[in-house]
Amino acid sequence: MAFINMRTNEVQVKIVYYGPGRGGKTSNLEYINKKFRERIKTEMVSIKTHGDRTLFFDFLPFDIGKIKGYDIKIQMYTVPGQVKYNATRKLVLKGVDGLVFVADAMAERRRHNLLSLKQLQENLAEYKKSIFKIPLILQYNKMDLKDRGVPLLSLETLEQDLNSKLKAPSYPASAITGENVVVTLKKIISVTMAAIQRELK
């Protein structure tokens, strides 16, 4: 639920990176934070465990300037991917405007992707939102591991497993090399802004 401040003409937009544990959600935000360091005025906030797993969320604000006279402030969050943290995952989803589902392309993570996506659908339903209607991008992460001989799911398998019904824009990516990280970000921002603008007159 984007908040529109009619006094300052500011729109706050919430974009959440969702997906299975260790899939690379935090790494996406870290890459963006590094890449756009001079445009982001504050530190990235990460509430994490000692082992660097997300405990509650990461938070990174990102100003994209003006659209139709409104100052657009993107607020990026990640959820904790570990199975046991679903209660906090739900809290982070509150008021979400756009979602990036970060799937792990490693073959051994196939089932985790499916379970995580299914749970996303359920969690959204609790907020009376439909996974088919909300702005959503799929990202197939860790593609760089192919060169290191790690067995990966093929793009066809990933599409078949995760995107056959959703038909969302999807990108192979690597949060480590940065491949398609910014492309994913730009796409979710544009899809989300289009959805918001349909309501902004």
Partner: protein, 129 residues
Amino acid sequence: MNYGIDQDRLIEIDSILREDLIEIGVDYVLMIDTAGNTIAKCDSGAHSYDVASLAALAAGNYATVDAMAKIVGEQEFSLLFHKGENVSIHFSMINEEFLLIILFGKEVSLGFLRLKVAEAIDKIRALWK
């Protein structure tokens, strides 16, 4: 999916926060929604904080405590307060959607603050009547 608050109401909220809270010596007042958006902010000019991060964390903190209350069968835990050496933070719920976050120093007594917060919240709620 979007929602807005009109300009007149925001101006009124601003003056309530300023007159009831900044005037009594509070450093910073933030009105946020439960998703972590900043609705209004007011400060004494004494400090500058990373407001967007504070709002995200405060919403998360509030939501966590609220979820814990539900698990143990409470409606809510009404008082949320973190006391520091120099700065303390006070959280309160305006209604289902909005929270009030107040940062204040040693000079302000908690009892008086709570009184003023209750007044301010009543006035803000009245704007939606």
